[in-house]
């Protein structure tokens, strides 16, 4: 998706990450971060047209856990709200789509997780094929190792790093979006999302060529991820950065990779890219988020200091 009829910009964002949050619950983690993001552009929740979040109930350990997190935004008077059992980056893609409808001009996207309380490698195995894979409880690091070895065997990479333990961190990110002139009212440095798309590959690991990232390449083509001068990549294990550089056709641009908290890290990369563009450190950046085992699903967003003019879609 690109050349939006209604240009959408990131106008504010805030993030928090810690290796292990000892006491605060999800709502208490989110409250200061959401208020920071909204406060940067002088908004309150009442000014937000659409609110959407990304998180995983499996990390909290009970069904509909995400509903409790709404206390961090306040759901009364009633708000238009949605939730994805995914990284917040995919929630941002939903917000961009909703903003195209024309009914609302602003959106709040947030993501949160506290995986430090459990065994993340074990919890992530529940996302796998429930018949032939999940019952084996494969650890996420072990599956990542299958991809790293496939890369070594392909002979297409000079050196593939060893797979470290799975990154575990707690935290949250909040991003405020606004459309067209509303974005220009709110900030002198709106960062325009000129393209965004996400693609998924087959769930069966043995069907895929693990030494490429076809879904990243397709998402990047659709989002128009060319002529970028910086990349912000959601990398859960170091070898994945090599596949992503390849799939995105990066060629010497500075690459800023981070894993971040599970369910948060992708949205955090988009927020980090937007901060860099707003600060003038990059003119046009590509941001990436991933979900699922071995880069199964990938989202690519293009962030630009300059908007594609309204009506320029044709």
């Amino acid at each position: 998706m690109r050349n939006f009829k209604r240009p959408v910009a990131i106008v504010a964002s805030a993030s928090f990450e810690t290796p292990s949050e000892p006491s605060r619950n999800e709502v208490e983690l989110l409250l200061p971060v959401i208020h920071d993001a909204l406060g940067q552009v002088g908004l309150t929740q009442q000014d937000i047209g659409f609110t959407v979040s990304g998180s995983s109930d499996y990390l909290q350990g009970f069904p509909f856990a995400f509903v409790g997190a709404l206390d961090a935004v306040g759901a009364w008077p009633p708000i238009r709200e949605s939730h994805l059992e995914m990284d917040g980056a995919f929630a941002l893609a939903e917000a961009v789509a909703v903003l195209q409808h024309g009914h609302v001009d602003t959106a709040l996207v947030y993501a949160f997780a506290r995986p430090s309380r459990g065994d993340l490698d074990r919890t992530l195995s529940i996302q796998l094929d429930p018949y032939s894979v999940a019952p084996l409880w494969p650890d996420a690091r072990g599956l990542a190792g299958l991809q790293a070895q496939a890369m070594r065997d392909s002979g297409r990479f000079d050196s593939v790093p060893e797979v470290p333990p799975t990154h575990v961190a707690d935290g949250c990110t909040a991003v405020v979006l606004a459309v067209g002139d509303r974005a220009r009212e709110l900030t002198k440095t709106p960062v325009w999302i000129t393209g965004i798309d996400h693609r998924i590959e087959a769930p069966a690991l043995g069907v895929r060529d693990l030494a490429t990232s076809v879904s990243t390449r397709l998402a990047a083509e659709s989002a128009g991820a060319t002529d970028v001068d910086a990349a912000y990549l959601h990398v859960l294990y170091p070898h994945q950065e090599l596949l992503l550089r390849d799939a995105l056709g990066l060629n010497g641009q500075p690459v800023h990779s981070s894993a971040g908290p599970m369910m948060v890290g992708g949205l955090e990369r988009i927020a980090a890219a937007a901060k860099a563009v707003a600060a003038g450190d990059a003119r046009r950046a590509v941001a990436h988020a991933t979900s699922g085992p071995c880069l199964q699903q990938n989202l690519v967003a293009v962030l630009d200091a300059t908007a594609v003019l309204e009506g320029a879609a044709a």
Binding site: Y58, G61, D119, D121, R122, T123, I126, P130, Y131, S132, V133, P135, L136, W137, P138, D139, G142, L143, A144, G145, L146, Q147, A148, Q149, A150, D153, V163, A202, A204, L205, G206, V207, L210
Partner: protein, 146 residues
């Protein structure tokens, strides 16, 4: 001051019964009988485990194909700290194994002692459970073939 931490058991589980359907069901029934069953995809490739829909074209698939219980490792990683519920209690290799007669690979544990013994392309043979019930656990793991 000594502090006691209260703990309570809390198991995460999927508390629903679901039907496996005609293709995955055939794969599971095959395991019970000591056979490995795949399905022919839209492009002629044989997928194992058998799946209902082609992963590229999404077409309904229906032509079941029995493959061998011997195959080759297409990629692997070493698991030196097995966790609760995993196929073996001692260190083992996770591997994607392409059974002879199949075109795609599936995840299995390979019981091979240490990491130096396994490599991509290694030949393996299934080790079957003595009592089989029609689940993936009927296929305990694989052993290396010389």
């Amino acid at each position: 001051m000594k502090t006691d931490v209260l703990t309570a058991p809390h198991s995460i589980e999927y508390t629903y019964t679901r039907s496996t359907g005609p293709m995955i069901g055939a794969f599971m029934t095959g395991l019970r009988d000591g056979k490995i069953i795949g399905v022919r995809g839209a492009d002629g490739r044989v997928h194992v485990p058998a799946i209902d829909y082609d992963p590229v074209t999404s077409e309904d698939l229906s032509e079941l194909v029995e493959v061998a219980d011997t195959g080759v490792v297409t990629t692997w990683s070493w698991n030196d700290q097995p966790r609760s519920g995993q196929p073996l209690e001692h260190p083992f290799a996770w591997a994607l194994v392409r059974w002879d007669g199949a075109d795609t690979a599936m995840l299995v544990a390979v019981d091979c002692g240490d990491a130096s013994t396994i490599s991509t392309g290694a030949k393996v043979k299934a080790r079957w459970a003595d009592e089989r019930t029609g689940t993936i656990h009927d296929l305990c793991c694989c052993e290396l073939q010389s």
